[in-house]
């Protein structure tokens, strides 16, 4: 079955900017506007403007919204204060990861769940099913929001130029309703780049005005429009997992090295608890593969799916994401390696790059951490 890709509210803006578009999870999205390396560097050194309207928003409201999310997700959402956000996951009964999520507590009885575009329907269906026993309404808000991100060290100054909201008081992983460039928006200090920055959830009808105002405010501060290509290299350098690469239904959060998101001590039962408790014990006693960073010694690029081998040529793991890193100037990868080979500095590790075993250094993630 083929269907025409969906277009965001900013589609005409992207085309006017000459963007190279790509089909991503059923959406026609900007891959890059010019050089993806220049866009990447702009986010690290100044600021970048992203259209992320493909992300899937789902709103839960009602007296038992918090309890429903405690049951449906692995995190302890009832402990999140209004105005704050959490990185969390939704897992199957067998512990497999269905998606990684950011959940914003908008009010005492209102949460917004942001799912990956590729998983938004699954997450919506699962939340609806899992919330059935609770006094809560699950609403599909995918079409209710455009999502624009401003990321980079200049992001606070740029956003401050178009809003009176208290950005200094807005902490990392916090969100507040406000007015930006004259339009209502939920302002969140979140992102997927390893830099300071904001994500703005606004009505699709207001998206173009918001984008234009941010573009104008950023002109003197090095802001450039950025596509999904640099978003991927930015998150790779920052060691952030991407669903479908580092996270899949075949893995539990513990397999992915993200067991910290599972909160066993929260009140009540939750979907996947028994399987996840077993996964936690196994990860502590007999870890399977471990997610690590690889830095290439040469210039050929390790790509997702390439085998990782030891000095004898035995397969010891697999690359999940790889790209040339603009910041480090070398190819980087994330890979799952057998625990015996996963310690940083382990020698003899190579990636099988189309038949040639290319030497790589095992390092701890992330590759890049911004100076604060």
């Amino acid at each position: 079955m083929t269907t025409a890709p969906r277009r965001t509210a900013l589609d005409a803006v992207h085309r006017a900017l000459g963007a190279t578009m790509t089909d991503f999870a059923g959406w026609d999205m900007p891959l890059r506007y010019g050089s993806e390396r220049d866009e990447h560097v702009a986010v690290r050194t100044a600021a970048g403007l992203f259209d992320l309207s493909h992300m899937g928003e789902i709103t839960l409201t009602g007296p038992q919204a918090a309890e429903a999310l405690d049951f449906a997700l692995v995190g302890h959402l009832s402990a999140v204060k209004p105005g704050r956000a959490r990185y969390t996951m939704i897992c199957r009964e067998d512990g497999g990861i269905l998606d990684d999520l950011i959940v914003y507590r908008l009010a005492e009885q209102a949460f917004m769940v942001v799912a990956n575009a590729s998983n938004a329907q699954v997450v919506l269906d699962e939340l609806t099913a899992r919330a059935a026993g609770f006094d809560v309404t699950v609403r599909d808000d995918r079409d209710a929001y455009a999502l624009i991100a401003v990321q980079g060290p200049q992001a606070p100054a740029i956003l401050a130029a178009v809003t009176d909201a208290d950005l200094d008081g807005l902490k990392y992983y916090a969100g507040l309703p406000g007015t930006v460039a004259g339009v209502p928006a939920m302002i969140a200090r979140t992102g997927y780049t390893g830099e300071d920055g904001f994500e703005l959830f606004a009505a699709p009808a207001d998206a173009e005005a918001l984008w234009t105002a941010l573009t104008d405010a950023g002109r003197e501060r090095g802001l450039v429009p950025c596509g999904l290509s640099c978003r991927d290299t930015l998150r790779l350098e920052a060691g952030m997992p991407l669903y479908g690469h580092e996270l899949t239904t075949a893995l539990t959060p513990f397999d992915a090295g993200l067991g910290r998101v599972v909160k066993f001590d929260k009140p009540g039962d939750f979907t996947g608890r028994a399987a996840l408790e077993a996964a936690a014990r196994k990860a502590a006693a007999n870890p399977p593969r471990v997610l690590v960073g690889l830095v290439a010694a040469g210039r050929r690029v390790p790509r997702a799916g390439y085998p990782v081998v030891d000095a004898a040529g035995t397969v010891i793991g697999e690359v999940t994401s790889g790209a040339p890193s603009p910041t480090l100037g070398k190819p980087l990868a994330m890979a799952y390696l057998d625990a015996a080979h996963a310690e940083p500095g382990t020698g003899g590790v190579a990636v099988d790059i189309r038949g040639a075993h290319e030497a790589h250094e095992v390092v701890a993630l992330p590759f890049y951490r911004r100076a604060r």
């Binding site: 190279t20 891959l31 890059r32 050089s35 993806e36 390396r37 290509s229 991927d232 290299t233 210039r299 050929r300 690029v301 790509r303 790209a323 040339p324 190819p331 189309r354």
Partner: protein, 125 residues
């Protein structure tokens, strides 16, 4: 995009200069460079290497993918562009000029090389 009229083109998006003293210069087209995105690494055939029309003789790494480099003609490589090895971004910034890739002493060329106009139509520009 502007595909120079004096060049000929392959359906694998390489260009071939006029043959002078038996030697032609080869590169990838602007269309191909744009589709690849930023080229970060090139592996080129070396001097003396035999290349065959339509067969892979190197690779181009970009941010998102790796692509085989094909030779549009058969022959012996007489030179490769060290400037591009040192600065692969030349492939993006000047694909038809400073971003040339290698030179071949031509022994045989296929009969389906395209003119600039035909290539422009083929590439759907």
């Amino acid at each position: 995009m502007n595909n120079p009229a004096q060049l000929r083109y392959s359906k694998e998006h390489e260009w071939l200069s006029a043959v002078e003293d038996g030697v032609a210069t080869i590169g990838i087209t602007e269309h191909a460079a744009h589709a690849l995105g930023d080229v970060v690494f090139v592996q080129l055939p070396e001097e003396g290497q035999e290349v065959t029309a339509g067969e892979s003789c190197g690779e181009l790494e970009s941010t998102k993918s790796v692509s085989d480099l094909y030779s549009p003609v058969s022959g012996t490589v007489t030179a490769f562009n060290q400037d591009v090895v040192d600065d692969p971004a030349l492939v993006n910034s000047a694909p038809f000029e400073a971003g040339w890739l290698f030179k071949v002493r031509v022994s045989a060329e296929p009969d389906d090389l395209l003119s600039a106009d035909d290539y422009t139509a083929f590439a759907g520009e």
